[in-house]
């Protein structure tokens, strides 16, 4: 895997973590969004290796498609995801399907959280999670 992508994902994850530790509710939500982005990238990256194709099959089924995952590591340990191999044709489609679902669900959650934040502000006049706690007593 590309080291720069890896670094980017990790840094984004760190920034997201920093944000969900804040008292400001909007910043927390932004933090959750950033965390989700990095998790999505992480999962997709797990199924990605250099020099392979998108999981879209071209042509007829009997030609070219078929066996795609083969262990090429000499020590006999299989990778959890598709390793480097000469026969690889496609990216792992499953992780992509997973993440596609995750992205949509993430939208639902973000929308809900935002409306919740908005209603909290309307009811209590604050965006401070600590202050909210005090108000509740």
């Amino acid at each position: 895997m590309n080291i720069f992508l890896l670094l980017t994902i990790s840094i984004a994850f760190g920034i997201g973590t920093f944000l969900i530790l804040r008292r400001d509710i909007i910043k927390m939500i932004i933090g959750i969004v950033i965390l989700c982005h990095s998790v999505h990238m992480m999962i997709v990256a797990m199924g990605a290796f250099d020099g392979i194709k998108a999981p879209i099959i071209e042509g007829s089924p009997d030609k070219g498609s078929g066996i795609i995952f083969q262990d090429s590591l000499s020590d006999g340990i299989l990778a959890p995801v598709v390793p480097h191999t000469t026969e690889v044709l496609h990216m792992d489609p499953l992780v992509q399907a997973l993440v596609l679902t995750a992205i949509v669900i993430n939208l639902a959650i973000t929308a809900f959280l935002l409306i919740l934040a908005y209603r909290i502000y309307e009811e209590y006049g604050t965006m401070d999670a600590d202050e909210l706690r005090r108000l509740r007593g």
Binding site: I3, T8, V33, V44, L100, A108
Partner: protein
């Protein structure tokens, strides 16, 4: 009707009728007590159908498979002993619930009251008929729970709640669970939970008595019995249980539930008796409790409190008698104990119901405020005198007979042990009798004799209506009947019960006049000393009060309160420390734990796999996108105003879409860009309505801490991904093979991701749609609820 069917019906009928109580209450209103009383009567009749064959010397056994994998059946075992307790439970319940019709105010939650009592009655009957220890334990704990509910019946009174908790902690927590361990030990010795199998097999009993775990098993089971019957240090819960409505105290806490411990002692009597451990443990605990509780009873000013201590003391009599044992004759006191068990249930229930009447009419239970009521309440006075004199052991009442038997068995026990016990054991027994005599007289004297205290009492006091008087009088009648014609109860129920314990046919000869025996002299001594003690009654009570004030530490209650109070306080402090409130304090431990549980094993297991082959080649356009992602994420974090921060985070979202293109995921890229557009719109809509910024004062310490956490989390993610991408973790076979192979073949779809979503895993997509739908509903309701508040 088949007898075993009748018994099983008798167990479950109260439960079924208890469930129906709330519905029946709608029809019967405040007369629901008659329904409950009728249920008890029905149960009593069902149990009575089993009586003839038990009296004839048989037992009834029946079982159905319940938990065959652990060798537990649902079984019933009916012998004289279980029949006796079941008769007490259902018979006294009839009177108690009839009495409650008048006693309980119509404003109370009557449905709950009768429901709990019926549930208790069913549990008690279920317990005594249980053929195995597991079933016995379950019903045993059910009686504890129903007792808890009834003591805490007046939920608004803190004293009730305190008493209820105390009874549950001590009788169920400290007693029941320990007893359960005892049962498991017994099972490990014998290999069975079945009680009749164990007690009917002499060779098995020999094995148990010779086993190295014998003493510890006995101690554990006895602790359960002692806690239930308020013996030894466990006595402290019973006085506090007096917060329950008085009929409940009469029923549970004097006549039946506290007898459960004695029942257990009698039930395991064949297994453990005839050993020194049994004598020391059971009789020893009984004697100490008998004297201690009798002594403490003297200072009680609440009549119910006095009766509670006298109950403890009387139960201790019975315990002591069950404890009397020698190698040759394992059951010296069994007959006396069983007879006293019945007698105590009758006279103590009479006394409790009498106290209920007095409290109902005179509006106080304080013995200092009562007095001189004999003219106003002549009938109650007669009943009280019968009950109290029976407890004091005055002929010709039933208490006299069983007390004589107590003395007789004490003398026998003393003779068997030899000097100095020949003197000590009878002396202790007499001392117990003297104390009982004194406080029994106090009940009569304090309430009905002496001067009327007009300051404290209502102007007009009179005997209660027949509804309360009749059940009390019926019990008092039994007290006299059993005293004058002892052969009736003895032949009908005591002999079968004793036979059930000793596993042998017995013939008892109980008569009012049985010649000039040592025990008769002991009774005379008891009366003389009792009258002498009564003259010093108030001095002793005052001395006890002074002692209590001076030495608050010499009291079991003091330590109970300290332990329970400290436990509550420390639990509160502990959870207060971990559940501080702000979400971030929950997130931090979760993150740290995740890091520890992932990073450490990964590092330890795969240290040698490092270093890995890393790919540093990257096209410049990819590098730019990655850098932009980091920059936008950073901006989203540090920009103070919401709008710029939201713009930054949505820019990041679009860049993530581009990354998906690099990762050869075109579907994801499209979805991400569409979703990001929508997210941005919602973000902007919301932040337009709230203040544009929020200044959080981040101290250096918090900043440092949060950055440290974030960096740790980021490095963990980095390392995990690094390892994962090197293929460290042994995989399962990927299901992706299948999808790629079959996609075109089965569905005709060439885009495998799409095929998975709408075809192979379409139920997942349905779930996803459900999530969106729920979120939309939530959003709608949140916005909608705004109107209602304002």
């Amino acid at each position: 009707m088949d007898q075993s069917v009748a018994i099983i019906l008798a167990i479950f009928l109260p439960f079924i009728f208890a469930i129906l109580v709330p519905y029946v209450e709608k029809i019967f209103k405040h007369r629901i007590g008659w329904y409950a009383s009728f249920t008890a009567l029905l149960t009593f009749i069902l149990i009575a159908t089993a009586a003839p064959s038990i009296i004839a010397g048989k037992t009834i056994q029946y079982s159905v498979k319940w938990l065959p994998s652990v060798g537990v059946d649902f079984g019933i075992y009916v012998d004289g002993l279980s029949l006796l307790i079941a008769f007490l439970a259902s018979g006294i319940a009839i009177m108690i619930m009839a009495y409650s019709n008048e006693y309980m105010s119509h404003k109370e939650d009557l449905a709950a009251y009768y429901k709990y009592i019926l549930l208790f009655m069913g549990s008690m009957i279920g317990m005594v008929f249980s053929a195995n220890t597991i079933q016995l334990f379950i019903f045993w704990e059910l009686t504890s729970i129903t007792s808890f509910l009834l003591i805490g019946y007046w939920k608004h009174k803190p004293q009730s709640v305190y008493g209820a908790k105390k009874s549950l902690i001590l009788s169920s927590g400290c007693g029941g669970l320990v007893m359960f361990v005892g049962f498991l030990l017994l099972r490990s010795i014998t290999g069975t939970f079945d009680i009749p199998t164990i007690i009917s097999d002499p060779s098995m009993i020999n094995t148990i008595q010779g086993h190295e775990l014998f003493v510890i098993t006995l101690v554990f089971i006895f602790i359960g019995a002692a806690a239930k019957s308020a013996q030894g240090p466990f006595y402290i819960w019973l006085p506090n249980a007096m917060e329950a409505p008085t009929p409940v105290s009469a029923f549970l806490h004097s006549a039946t539930m506290v007898k459960a411990g004695l029942y257990l002692v009698a039930r395991v009597h064949p297994i453990f008796s005839g050993t020194e451990a049994w004598l020391i443990l059971v009789a020893g605990t009984g004697m100490i409790t008998m004297i201690g509780a009798g002594f403490l009873a003297l200072r009680q000013t609440d009549i119910k409190g006095l009766l509670a201590y006298s109950t403890i003391s009387q139960l201790a009599y019975i315990m002591t008698m069950y404890g009397y044992t020698t190698y040759q004759e394992p059951g010296i006191g069994v007959a006396a104990a069983t007879f006293h068990l019945l007698n105590h249930a009758t006279f103590k229930a009479t006394l409790f119901l009498m106290v209920g009447i007095v409290a109902h009419e005179a509006a106080t239970r304080d013995i200092r405020k009562l007095g001189g009521l004999r003219r106003e309440m002549p009938l109650t006075f007669i009943i009280a005198t019968i009950g109290a004199l029976a407890m004091a052991g005055v002929p010709p009442l039933n208490g006299f007979l069983s007390k004589e038997m107590f003395y007789e068995s004490s003398v026998m026990m003393g003779n068997n042990l030899g000097a100095p016990y020949t003197f000590i054991i009878p002396a202790v027994a007499v001392l117990g009798g003297v104390l009982t005599f004194a406080y029994s007289i106090k009940i009569i004297d304090g309430i009905f004799l002496g001067k009327r205290q007009d300051d404290h009492l209502p102007k007009k006091i009179h005997d209660p209506s027949a509804i309360m008087l009749a059940p009390t009088a019926a019990l008092a009648f039994l007290v006299v009947l059993f005293g004058v014609f002892p052969s009736i109860p003895v032949n009908l129920i005591i002999e079968p019960a004793v036979a059930g314990i000793l596993l042998d046919t017995v013939s008892l000869n109980v008569k009012l006049w049985h010649g000039l025996t040592p025990e008769l002299f002991m009774t005379v001594i008891t009366f003389v000393l009792g009258i002498l003690l009564y003259t010093k009654y108030d001095d002793i009570a005052r001395w006890q009060d002074r002692f209590n004030v001076r030495h608050p530490g010499i009291s079991i209650n003091y330590y109970y309160d300290k332990i329970v109070g400290n436990a509550t306080y420390n639990a509160g402090r502990f959870s207060g420390k971990f559940q501080v409130g702000p979400i971030k304090y929950y997130i931090i431990p979760i993150l740290l734990l995740a890091i520890l549980s992932i990073l450490v094993p990964v590092t330890l297991l795969s240290l040698e796999m490092f270093p890995v082959t890393l790919n540093f080649e990257i096209p410049p356009y990819e590098l730019i996108v990655f850098l932009l992602i980091i920059i936008t994420a950073l901006l989203a974090a540090i920009l103070p105003s919401y709008l710029p921060a939201v713009i930054a985070v949505s820019a990041m979202g679009f860049l993530v879409g581009i990354v998906f293109i690099f990762l050869l995921a075109p579907d994801l890229a499209i979805t991400q860009i569409l979703v990001e557009t929508l997210t941005t719109i919602i973000f902007v809509l919301v932040i337009a309505k709230v203040p544009q910024t929020f200044k959080e004062n981040i101290t250096k310490r918090i900043l440092l801490r949060d950055i440290l956490i974030s960096v740790t989390v980021a490095s963990t993610v980095f390392i995990i991904m690094l390892y994962a991408s090197q293929g460290i973790i042994p995989p399962f076979e990927s299901v992706s093979h299948y999808f790629l192979e079959k996609s075109v073949l089965l569905t005709g779809g060439h885009n495998v991701v799409n095929v998975i979503l709408v075809d192979f895993r379409s139920f997942d997509t349905l779930g996803e749609i459900a999530v969106i739908f729920l979120a939309a509903l939530g959003v709608y309701n949140l916005i909608h609820s705004r109107g209602e508040r304002k």
